[in-house]
Symmetry: C2
Subunit: 216 residues, 2 copies
């Protein structure tokens, strides 16, 4: 079983690594980071971060496609090699998945039209522009499309998919071994739970369409 995790310049690292660290333990999984060209790919810090082992052309028909997100200005949303590969690979994939704003890339490829999907909470509106029914849920499965909310939610998405494919025990085994027993020191991980003025501040930054990063 071939798993392809797409990398492109400016992706967010944890978006890619949450699914990586869960899905790679599927029996028989051959997991690769793929990009237009093999080699180091810069993440959203601008520095080379993860290494693509294969080019898009090397992995035309993965069984599972994972599309991480990144700051909106970095997303490959225009016609080009990434969207071409994605559309073609999706024709034969068993599962096509995304984390965070990765769902906007699926949307731009026309793969989510008329479907329910999720994204980073600040970008649900943008998802609607692709004819998608956006939901604030953390993991959304609609047919073979599994989308996850912001950055860290790829861990939940990966465990969900392992459970769907290999059963509860396999997923529990992965959860136990990555010791995913979350105990965040705050309860501020969603716009419903974070202090309202903090949420408002981020929405304002977003609406001004400035670069959105948690650096203050």
């Amino acid at each position: 079983m071939r798993i392809a995790i797409l990398l492109y310049p400016g992706f967010t690292t944890l978006d890619a690594i949450g699914p990586y660290e869960t899905l790679r333990h599927l029996p028989g999984a051959e997991t690769s980071f793929v990009a237009e060209r093999p080699g180091p790919v810069a993440n959203d810090s601008g520095k080379p971060a993860l290494v693509a082992a294969a080019s898009l052309a090397d992995v035309p028909h993965p069984d599972i496609i994972v599309v991480p997100g990144g700051p909106q200005e970095n997303l490959p949303l225009a016609h080009g090699p990434v969207l071409d590969w994605l559309k073609e690979a999706d024709r034969t994939s068993t599962w096509t998945t995304s984390v965070c704003t990765g769902s906007l890339i699926l949307g731009a490829a026309g793969l989510l039209t008329g479907r329910r999907a999720t994204s980073h909470w600040l970008y649900l509106k943008d998802l609607a522009a692709y004819g998608v029914d956006p939901t604030g849920e953390r993991v959304v499965t609609d047919g073979k499309y599994v989308t996850a909310a912001g950055v860290s939610s790829g861990i939940d998405m990966g465990l969900t998919l392992v459970g769907r494919m290999e059963g509860d025990r396999a997923a529990q085994s992965v959860q136990l071994m990555i010791e995913y027993d979350p105990q965040p020191p705050y309860d501020a991980g969603s716009p419903d739970k974070a202090p309202a003025d903090l949420v408002a501040e981020w929405r304002k930054i977003r609406d001004r369409e400035e670069g959105v990063t948690p650096s203050r």
Copy 2:
């Protein structure tokens, strides 16, 4: 403020990326992956994964040191360049931290003697061999040493440290933007919560000292 995340052949990727994705948003943070030599470093899959931007010699005095873990046989526990760097860097660090079996590396460097610390649940006993008081807690702070439990706990550790350094609001802001509102589909992330026979199975594998990985 200089943050150095140590890479060595065979590290576990999420161990490094949880702290990376939280700590890098500290004001003025300059976050680097560091390794014996700059360039791609293989993770626990054996394939080149993350790229070290700097050599250990390039970053002798980071303010924050992050030591990820990996399968035990991959850990640099013997006298050598990594432990030499770690001991020296720790003399001037503000915080010295680890995720998962990374605490065994801190232990081997003699940095945790007589202190409370944590590790991956399967390796707490090994931690005790370094004169450490092992605890099953998810994040343990003892002086300037902050250790985290298995793999995914580096996210909780990073948020804890951001809160300690920059206050609750800064940490909540990071949590909101990485949308860390965990909703794992199972409640099996610790040995207290996972099915008892699954925990026993893993302990048996561990006691036979076979390679421990969630791949079944």
